[in-house]
Each structure stands twice: as structure tokens, then as C-alpha cells.
Symmetry: C2
Subunit: 231 residues, 2 copies
């Protein structure tokens, strides 16, 4: 496999995908066209506008982008694609759409067979075992929470440390993930913004500028550095 | 109906339910025993410990508390109860459990027929039409997102304003609710901590110390004051 699962598409105050540009160039080495999966629709953006946003970035590095919504036969489009990028937005909407259209399995099959895959935020959640560690609001009801399992754990993108100065009693991110562990035996990788998972063949590492927080059943949460291999 | 749907059980730096005590006394006027629904299990607390926490508060106002988990026949227990309190925690776990045990409908029926109901956080979400505006992590997969519809809208508890000083690109609460509105035609009441919905008979008002933010299809979000009637 050849994949990047990133916490976010955009760092605070930066341009779309700018911080990942060198990694993206390496990921899609030799690929001149990819399919963009726009179904997560952040802030309800249209499939067309969202695809255009991705296409503008990829034009800078000589890669053509087609939106998956443009194809009548989306399964064949995925089967024939040279690479994939799934943008962020609402994970429930993304997963519902992929299951409804029968795309989750075929996408998994192509990526498992070596086609490069980039996911950001919701697009990274679907690389995990299931979407049960998304931060998103359940605005639609998917037929299943199961995802591709491109890595043998779940991802919590936009991982956010507790800010004690905010006088608010909603659950912290860490509390939410600990609640997940009471119901599931699945490791969770808390990816802070600026970090990503890189899988090349069978080697999976965490990369980026921040420490990454790991949550496992029966252990205290712990931090790992960029470059650490995770299983 | 005679219900309170509160944003939170506990204000920052205060004791459990302290800020709601006068309202709770009024809600349960003439009731000496209620059933506590502990299934949302915040931080994975046991049903027993969570029920004890509620019982300790209610002992102060002369009301006995039984946990719903204690009953072999939970449907009959709900049918015979004099009043209800559903505690906060994980809304997915709460809704999954209520649907699995066939309790959502019977609870709705009893409350609709006048038994007093107090919900906090997740316990307020289930008073709305569905749970699609919860903030919680989808740690389990419920058979449906449908809830009791004790009020003709959805609730977003712990409503949190955007804090621009946090350099983080996860979606804001307002963005999430706007995404909900792209997929659903249901009003959303953003309940800040310190506020609650009060329904007495057919009159529904918002109460508490903060303004309340209302989100509707095709309108800009707007604020209403405590005491305002909502439909």
C-alpha cells in the first residue's frame, strides 16, 4: 500500500494542502490523474466546487483531478483510477454515501492493491477500521459505521488537547476516546493537526511536526514521536 | 407534558445539578420516587455508581431514586414509574440501549401522558426529534437515530461559541449544525450551558442565564432570551 492519512487538509493560516505538498508529490509519483471523492461536503459545499478546490491545488503539481460524482458508473471509475484523494467534511455523510453506492469495498480493494490514496480528516477516518472515532456530528444515518481498514487501528483526526481555561463541561476529546475504549477493542491514533499516517507497503509510521497520542485498552494514553512505526 | 431538557448537569465549578435545584423541586412536585436512566455512562462509569450519584442529589430534596438497570422487566418499570431522569454521557450508547430494550417508545408514551421528565445533555438529546445534533462520538452503532420528540425540534446541548484564539481547523459547532441543516429540515436549539428547555403542557420556553442560539433552514442563526416561547 501507498497511503497518507492526514489529520487536516489545512494548517491554521496556511493554504489548502500546502504543508503536505512534498509528501503528496512523493505519494503520487508517476501518476498524472486522480479521482477526488467529494462526498463529505464540508459546510455543505457542492461536489463541483469542492472538486474544483482540489483540482486547483493538484494543477500546481501537474496532476489532473476528476470528481467521482461526475461518473455515471462510479464503481468502474474507481476500478480504473490511477489514484485517489478523499477530502474532509462530514464523516457520516461520506460513509453513508460510500456504502449506498457500493464504493467502500471497491475503493478498499484498489488501495490495498497499491493505488495511492490520500485522505484528510473524514477521508482519513475511512482509512481506519471504522468511523466510531470521528469528531463529526451524525447528520445522516449510515447503513454501517465500518470503513476500509487500510490500517489496523482507528484514527481521531484534529486531535485536540484539553484547554482547561475554557469553562465548559462538555466531554474532552480524551474522555470521548476513553468512552470508545470501554465499548471497543481497537487502538486509536489521536492525530494532532500537522501530523499524518504514512503507509508504504507493510510499514506504517506517524509523521509530522507534533507528537501523536495513542489510546489502547488497558493502558494509559501515551505519546509517540514522528517516524515511529505503529502496528 | 412536564419536562426539563437541560444543556448540562453541572456548571463549571459547581456541584452536580446545583444550578437546577429550584427547577427540579418544581418539576417533581408531589413525586417521592423516580427512575434514573444511567445508560449514557459518562467516562464509562458503572450503572450502579452513576445511579448513586443521582440518588445522592435527590436525597437532598426527599426523592428516592431507582436505577432502571436494576429491574428485570424494564418496560413495566417505566410504565409504573412516577417520574424520570436521564443522565448525560454518550448519546449513541444511550440511544442504542433504549432501542435494543424497546424502551424509547414506552418512555415517550409515559412522558407524553404527563409523568415528569428531566434530561441533561444526552438525556436532553433524546427529548428531541432525533439524535443527529449530538456532540458525542459514535462509539457504538444504534439501530436508529430516532428519539422521543418531546419537543418539535432538535437540541444541541453544551452549545459552544467559536473561540477564534484556538488555532485549530476542526469544524466549529455552528458549522456542524449548518451541515445538519443541509441534510434535514428540523429546527436546532443550541443550548448554552446554564440554559434549559421547559415544557409545561403545550407551552415550551427556553430558560436560564444565557441567550439561546436557534438554527433554522433558510435563515441566519439568531438568539433568543430566557422566557421566550419556542415552537
Amino acid at each position: 500500500m501507498n497511503i497518507i492519512l492526514a489529520s487536516t487538509s489545512t494548517l491554521f493560516g496556511e493554504q489548502y494542502l500546502a504543508y503536505l505538498k512534498p509528501e503528496i508529490v512523493q505519494l503520487y509519483n508517476g501518476v498524472d490523474e486522480i479521482i477526488f471523492i467529494p462526498f463529505a461536503r464540508p459546510s455543505g459545499i457542492s461536489h463541483e466546487d469542492y472538486t474544483q478546490k482540489a483540482a486547483t491545488f493538484f494543477a500546481e503539481i501537474g496532476i489532473n483531478v476528476k470528481g467521482l460524482h461526475e461518473f455515471d458508473d462510479k464503481i468502474t471509475a474507481v476500478e480504473n483510477a490511477k489514484g485517489f484523494f478523499t477530502g474532509g467534511g462530514n464523516t457520516f455523510l461520506l460513509v453513508k454515501t460510500l456504502h449506498e453506492l457500493g464504493l467502500m469495498e471497491v475503493l478498499k480493494e484498489r488501495v490495498t492493491n497499491g493505488k495511492p490514496y490520500l485522505g484528510c480528516s473524514a477521508g482519513s477516518n475511512i482509512g481506519g477500521i471504522n468511523m466510531k472515532t470521528t469528531n463529526d456530528m451524525p447528520i445522516v444515518y449510515p447503513s454501517s459505521f465500518d470503513c476500509m481498514g487500510l490500517v489496523p487501528f482507528n484514527i481521531n483526526p484534529h486531535y485536540l488537547d484539553t484547554t482547561p481555561e475554557i469553562k465548559h463541561n462538555g466531554e474532552t476529546r480524551e474522555t470521548r476516546i476513553q468512552e470508545f475504549l470501554t465499548q471497543n477493542e481497537i487502538k486509536v491514533v489521536g492525530l494532532r493537526e500537522g501530523n499524518w499516517i504514512r503507509r508504504i507497503g507493510n510499514q506504517i509510521t506517524v509523521e509530522g511536526t507534533q507528537l501523536t497520542r495513542i489510546f489502547e485498552n488497558g493502558k494509559a494514553a501515551y505519546e509517540i514521536e514522528a517516524g515511529t512505526v505503529i502496528h
